[in-house]
Symmetry: D2
Subunit: 145 residues, 4 copies
């Protein structure tokens, strides 16, 4: 899915850092003229979803096994502000991995400027919200990617 001159939907995973380009649209902005703060969390979730896809992991397969990723903790630093028409990049890198959780570092950048930085702790639950062990095959796919 990768083009010669840019990133496509799936983004690029290189040297342990995944990078996804995202355009800022009307829907992302608010009346201050900038991106609404909670939407940086949406951008990060898109980055995580594409990182998983690069490792061959799909939400549809997980849901079929009654498994869902949930965010347990997110420490969010709002450092700058994107505006409409901007193209921002979401960077995702694995910080730490355990039997029941992942810790990721994520940043949203416009060029070299860091607009948003967060450390995110993810866990796995079933449809009733009960914690589940992360399947061994999934951990292996991620560590190999």
């Amino acid at each position: 899915m990768m083009g010669s001159r840019g990133m496509t939907l799936t983004g690029i995973l290189k040297d342990g850092v995944h990078r996804l380009d995202i355009r800022v649209y009307y829907e992302d902005t608010d009346h201050s003229g900038r991106v609404y703060h909670a939407n940086y969390l949406k951008f990060c979730e898109r980055g995580r979803s594409e990182t998983l896809k690069c490792a061959g992991i799909f939400h549809t397969d997980l849901a079929a096994q009654d498994l869902f990723f949930v965010v347990r903790h997110m420490d969010c630093n709002f450092l700058g502000a994107a505006t409409i028409d901007d193209v921002v990049s979401v960077e995702t890198r694995l910080h730490q991995q355990g039997p029941a959780k992942f810790v990721l570092d994520q940043r949203v950048l416009r060029g070299e400027e860091v607009l948003f930085a967060a450390r995110v702790t993810l866990a796995m639950v079933n449809a009733q919200g009960r914690p589940q062990r992360i399947p061994a095959g999934l951990l292996q796919k991620i560590s190999e990617s």
Copy 2:
């Protein structure tokens, strides 16, 4: 849930018209300084949900029977624009009802000014998206409310 001097979460159903008050927040606006167009559809969906609750119908009960309401058609007229801090009212009235669909007329007003008007056709599906007959008890609850 109804207060003496205003509407609460559930809104008011009177003479066949349901009315729900909604505040406009940062999240609802876009960089033009007004409410983002697609958010009027969200406001209408909130109005429909509270109309159903006034008739004793809850999405949780429907989901437990593998039933979900879906919008099939919506003719949307964007006539004005709400801005931040505004309180708007969503009006919902039944236009037509059949064994497998409802047609509603909905409006979003600020005071007397109509900002948005739509005719909405709703149907019922299961989790696989297949059309389902609307349960007789549900039709009765709505026609009696």
Copy 3:
């Protein structure tokens, strides 16, 4: 911005039809397991924004002239349902153009299956919401693209 094997952020404009690929993420779905109905309008707005960019028109430039596009009317047909991980395509084509409005036909497809189809009437306003003539240069850029 176009890659060799796929569409990038800007999409592709060919034979008068613009096509933009969009991934369905967690944020787009609702508890029914499908894309929330109002989000098809967001997808269409992204398609319109990228269509304008292909014609060399940017919201930032318009905003600097106190010009904003607004949706006046949208006739929405919800024909199918996308689910998480899906890649859908937004097609945008010009139906009609006047001194103060555009009418577009837009569709959201998954492969060959049409999930959503709408006719959209757009007008131009200033920050106070007053109707504005569409600049002649803008009309020319669009008709030439």
Copy 4:
């Protein structure tokens, strides 16, 4: 705007804690059947907006002075999960206040169960995003409320 038996749009400010009731709608949920994580930040922003209104402060007045609140930091703990039809309460209390920032503690509860807890640092900027001192009158209004 306060009713006799429940909270209305503005919520209740008592003993330094503001409380706002919010209904969970289709738009708030995702395909896991629960509220999408970023939407707790929207709920908190609604709580902050109504807290300000209780102190006589309106975003429209601030915007007229070219002043906007922005979130600088938010430490988010996702502890539980709301589902459709739930009524949740957003609690907002002032933790600390300085010449250029506020620190708030916010929680989202369903009954006694804490679903989300965050410490939020807010600052003030102008439309260009430059930091601004918080007007003295505004600080006074908040400390007196």
